[in-house]
Symmetry: C2
Subunit: 265 residues, 2 copies
C-alpha cells in the first residue's frame, strides 16, 4: 500500500483498510518510524492503531543508528508481523539505516510470505527499487529534474511518487518513466492509497487520485540528448487518472473504471 502522505487521521479510512487487509483486530503490526525527524512517531502510530481497534500493541522498530540495527527484538518484530507500516519523513533516512542490514532482508522476506507492507509519503517512496529522493515540481519533464537512490525494492516494476498532485509532480514521474519505459509510474495523491496486489492489480483507495504513467507506448523521446535542465520531449506516454474504486491491471496496462457509463471501452 503506497500512501501519498498527509493522511486524515480523524477519519482514518486508509489505516482501517490497512488493518482490514492485515487480518483485523488481531493483526500484529510493526512500525518503522526512522524517516521521521520526531522522537515519538512510533508511539503516535501505536496509539492510532490501538484507537481503530487493533488488540495487540504494535511493535516499534526504534533503532536510530546503523550500529543499533539488527537487534534480536527488532528482527523478531518483523518476523512475527502480519503488517509493516513505514512512517513518512525523509526516505533517505530509511535506506541509510536499513540498507545492507539483516533487517532489510527480513522486510523483503516478510513481503514474500504475504505480510502487508504500507508506507506513507517517504514510506511510499522507499517501496520502489528506483526511489525518488528529491526533485523539482512542474508538469514538464526536464533533464535532471528528479533524483533517485536505491529503495527497499519490494517492487522493481513500479516507481511510486507521493504528494502527487499537491506538489505538481507529473513532470518528474514522466521523466522517470521515459528514461526506462519498463517502469510503471504510480503517483499517489495525499490521503489516498495505491494498493498493489501481487504486482498485478493496483486499486485506488481514499480521498483523491492515483495517476498511472504507462511508458510502454512511448514512440520517441529526446531525453538522452537534452541539455541540463532543458525540457524533455516525450511522445506517446499514456496517463490514467484514477479515483477510489478504479483499478489498473499491470500486465495488460489497462485501467478499469467502476462505472458502467463510459465514453469508450
Amino acid at each position: 500500500m503506497a500512501i501519498g502522505g498527509a493522511m486524515n487521521l480523524k477519519a482514518p479510512a486508509i489505516l482501517q483498510e490497512f488493518i482490514r487487509r492485515t487480518g483485523g483486530p488481531k493483526a500484529r503490526i510493526a512500525i518503522l518510524p526512522q524517516a521521521s525527524s520526531l522522537d515519538d512517531t512510533g508511539e503516535y502510530y501505536q496509539e492510532k492503531f490501538r484507537a481503530i481497534g487493533v488488540k495487540t500493541k504494535a511493535a516499534v522498530v526504534e533503532f536510530k543508528t546503523r550500529a543499533g540495527a539488527d537487534q534480536p527484538a527488532d528482527l523478531q518484530a518483523i518476523r512475527k508481523a502480519d503488517g509493516i507500516f513505514i512512517a513518512g519523513g525523509a526516505q533517505l533516512r530509511l535506506t541509510i539505516l536499513y540498507g545492507g542490514t539483516q533487517l532489510e532482508q527480513e522486510l523483503l522476506a516478510a513481503y514474500r510470505r504475504g505480510a502487508v507492507i504500507a508506507g506513507t509519503s517517504a514510506g511510499a517512496a522507499v517501496l520502489s527499487k528506483l526511489m525518488f529522493t528529491y526533485g523539482r515540481s512542474g508538469s514538464t519533464p526536464r533533464a535532471g529534474m528528479a533524483h533517485f537512490a536505491a529503495g527497499f525494492g519490494f517492487t522493481d516494476k513500479i516507481i511510486f511518487d507521493q504528494h502527487f498532485r499537491q506538489r505538481d509532480r507529473l513532470g518528474r514521474l514522466l521523466y522517470a518513466v521515459a528514461a526506462n519505459p519498463g517502469l510503471l509510474g504510480v503517483g499517489v495523491d495525499e490521503n489516498t492509497a495505491a494498493i498493489v496486489e501481487n504486482e498485478k492489480t493496483i486499486r485506488v483507495f481514499g480521498e483523491n487520485a492515483v495517476t498511472v504513467v504507462d511508458g510502454t507506448k512511448i514512440s520517441a523521446t529526446d531525453l538522452s540528448e537534452v541539455d541540463w535542465r532543458g525540457p524533455v520531449a516525450v511522445a506517446g506516454a499514456v496517463v490514467h487518472a484514477l479515483n477510489a474504486g478504479c483499478r489498473f491491471e499491470v500486465r495488460t496496462r489497462s485501467a478499469i473504471l467502476p462505472h458502467k457509463i463510459l465514453l469508450a471501452e
Copy 2:
C-alpha cells in the same frame, strides 16, 4: 562483464576474455549498438570479433526507434546468443529504447540461462538496476551530485560506475552506496573489466583497477540531512582498490589479493 570504457582494441585482451568465457571461436554474439551516436558501431564490433577469431558473424540488434523494437530477427538473435555485447555512448539511449519491450525481457532471460553479458562504458552502467546517468566528478560525495535512472538490472545488488579513476568518480559512488548501503559499489577503470560470476565473485581483468565500495560497515552519514550540493559525511565505508588477478567475494564482502606477501590477512 562490466568494462570501464576506452578499451585498447589494438591489444584486445578484454574482448578476447569475453569470447573465451562465451565459448571461443564458435560463440554466437549479439551486439547492442544503440548507446552510440555513430551509425557503424555494430559493424565496427562485428569486425573486431571476426578479427579475434569468432567464426560466426556477430548479429547486430540494429533498431533505432521504439516502434522498430521487437522485430523477429532481433528477438531471435538474443535467443540464440551465447554472449551479448553492449557498446558505449549514452546509457539513457539504451533504456529509452529497450525499456518495457519484449527484447528487454529476452535480454534478462538470456542472462538467466547463462549467456555472458558484457558492456563497456554506457554498456556497463546499464547492467545495474540503479543506473548512473550523469553526475559531477570529484572524490567528495555531495548531495545530489549523481543522477540515476532504472537500468536493465541484470543485478540489483551491485551498482557499476565506469571511466572511474580517469573521471574521478569516487565521490558519486560513495554517494550512491551511502544512500543505500545494501548496494555494492563497483567502479571500473578504463581498459579494465569487473567480471561478476553469479553475483558472487567479482574478478578484475585488464590494465587498470576496479574500486569496490562496501557500505555495510558505514556507521553514520548525514546524507539525508545535507543541503543541496553540500558535502556529505560518510563514516566507515570500506574501499578496496583491486588490480588484475584480484577478486572480491560479494557475500562475505572480502577482497582476495593474488600475492602471498600481505601486510595483514
